[in-house]
């Protein structure tokens, strides 16, 4: 799989380390009254969709940036990638 890095162009996915669903950008508020329940959902539960999936990849063998990659989990087709910092500024995984 080739990941279209927004700064470096097409890079082989083997240069990256995979973390998981991009909802991990939306860390819950630890001071909220229901923090324990929300952290359980955040840490453990996943949508695990068959189809489009927004997910976090770390360019460990490259510029060490975190990317949010949109990929089809049924076909492995990659539809786009952006810097996780940009995605976060736009409102996290939404």
């Amino acid at each position: 799989m080739l990941i279209p890095h927004p700064l470096l162009g097409l890079r082989d996915s083997s240069e990256f380390v995979y973390l998981g669903d991009a909802v991990l950008l939306d860390r819950p508020d630890g001071m909220a009254p229901d923090a324990a329940a929300r952290f359980h959902e955040y840490v453990h539960l996943r949508d695990n969709p068959a189809g489009l999936h927004r997910e976090l990849w770390f360019h460990e063998q490259g510029d060490r940036s975190w990317l949010v990659v949109t990929r089809n989990t049924v076909t492995h087709e990659i539809l786009g990638a952006e810097l996780a910092s940009t995605a976060k500024l736009k409102g996290g995984a939404a």
């Binding site: 995979y18 998981g20 840490v43 453990h44 997910e55």
Partner: protein, 419 residues
């Protein structure tokens, strides 16, 4: 259906009469409007569940719904290894229970599943690893399993062609479980399917569950591609599709679906009479009865529902093989395939009820579901029939993550792609 037993005498008789006496092994029934128990998923675990539900727990009106053909998923895609060399209390007694069921499986099913207790050897490459395996071996023995710690020379006597003097990962010994081995994966599915059918279970193929009928928090039945079917209790055993199926009941699971690749070489002369695992990388190998070297390694590491993986992991696995046994470089790869693993957040499975009354879940087998097939079916049938967990599966709860009681065999935390 008349119960026709298989035997050596029968094979001889059929061979003398032109093999005209063999009949289809199970019926192809139309779905009834209602059942007491519906098992979703006609793979190894689902078929075993139906078999034990009908035989051991004496339940009737059972159906197995399979969207494709029986045994079309991971039961036909694995590397056929059976073993009970786990560490933790929530796992090891369960897998040892499974091992004991394997040992009597063929007699019980009257079906040749080619269970071969050829032993599994986990190699040791460092002093720390020896300590870890000594602890694991003791945990196995405490749970009633067998384990032997071998030194370097004992390993050399078994497999002299291993790369003992690899500069980075010299082989210093191994943990051997002699009762472990391999089984014919498809034969296991067929044996359970035949046994379940003979016990009156309806095995309904090409019948995809498209929704659950839930009223006031209780399951009433399922919607399928062949019409609605009412049910008292529904058990879901769909491995890599667990997330998709349980989403129809409004549930999010502590599971990610990942692809795992497996490999087989061309047929070779007998070379490996057991199962060997490389301790310094993720690589394991055995030799099939046809002669092919069957091996595998890590999952690809990203969420996937495609039953195929990528080249980077193929290179990684074969490099592990080259480090362990350089002679494998002379073998030509015959086939590579992938299966979808339901990777749980702690690497251990789930056999439990769900928040929907009457709906039960059997999932999270990661890439270790094959060896668990008999115990998984037995424990799931126990749960479905009695409403209480089987003693060996009582820690495999769905809510253990929320309560803080994961069964984290590798101590990796909630990182499904690393288990």
């Amino acid at each position: 259906m008349p119960a026709v037993a298989y035997s050596g005498f029968r094979v001889i008789r059929e061979s003398l009469t032109g093999h005209r006496g063999w009949k289809p092994v199970w019926r192809d029934p139309q779905p009834q409007p209602a059942y007491d128990f519906i098992i979703v998923g006609g793979g190894g675990h689902g078929l075993a569940t139906a078999y034990y539900l009908a035989t051991v727990f004496r339940q009737a009106r059972i159906a197995v719904l399979e969207k494709s053909w029986l045994g079309s998923g991971n039961i036909g895609r694995n590397t056929t290894i059976i073993r009970s060399n786990y560490l933790l209390p929530g796992n090891e007694p369960f897998y040892e229970f499974s091992m004991k069921l394997w040992e009597n499986l063929e007699q019980e099913l009257n079906f040749n599943a080619m269970v071969s207790q050829r032993g599994i050897l986990n190699l040791i490459h460092s002093d720390g690893q020896r300590d870890a395996y000594r602890r694991r071996g003791n945990a196995m023995i405490l749970a009633g399993a067998d384990a032997e710690l071998l030194d370097r020379e004992q390993v050399r006597a078994m497999y002299p062609w291993l790369n003992f003097d690899n500069a980075r990962f010299p082989i210093k010994g191994g943990l051997l479980q002699r009762r472990a081995g391999t089984a014919r994966h498809d034969g296991v599915a067929w044996g359970y399917a035949r046994g379940a059918d003979r016990a009156g279970v309806d095995l309904i193929q090409n019948c995809e569950v498209t929704g659950f009928r839930i009223e006031n928090g209780r399951i009433r039945g399922v919607e399928t591609s062949r019409g609605p079917i009412a049910a008292g209790k529904v058990g879901v055993a769909v491995a890599g599709s667990s997330g998709r199926v349980m989403a129809m009941a409004g549930m999010r699971l502590p599971i990610e679906s990942h692809v795992l690749q497996a490999f087989v070489t061309e047929g070779l002369k007998p070379a490996i009479d057991g199962v060997i695992t490389f301790g310094a990388g993720h690589f394991y190998v055995s030799q099939s009865d046809k002669g092919g070297l069957v091996f595998g390694g890590d999952i690809d590491g990203y969420n996937s529902y495609a039953q195929r993986g990528n080249l980077a992991v193929i290179e990684d696995v074969t490099q592990g093989g080259m480090a362990l046994m350089p002679m494998i470089g002379r073998a030509r790869l015959l086939r590579v395939w992938g299966g979808i693993m339901d990777m749980s957040m702690d690497g251990s499975p789930i056999i439990d009820r769900t928040p929907v009354e009457g709906l039960y879940l059997n999932a999270g087998w990661c890439y270790g579901g094959f060896k668990a097939t008999p115990a998984s079916g037995y424990a799931f049938a126990h749960l479905l029939a009695t409403g209480t967990p089987h003693d060996t599966a009582r820690l495999m709860r769905l809510d253990r993550f929320e309560r803080g009681y994961p069964i984290d065999e590798k101590g990796m935390g909630a990182t499904p792609n690393l288990h």
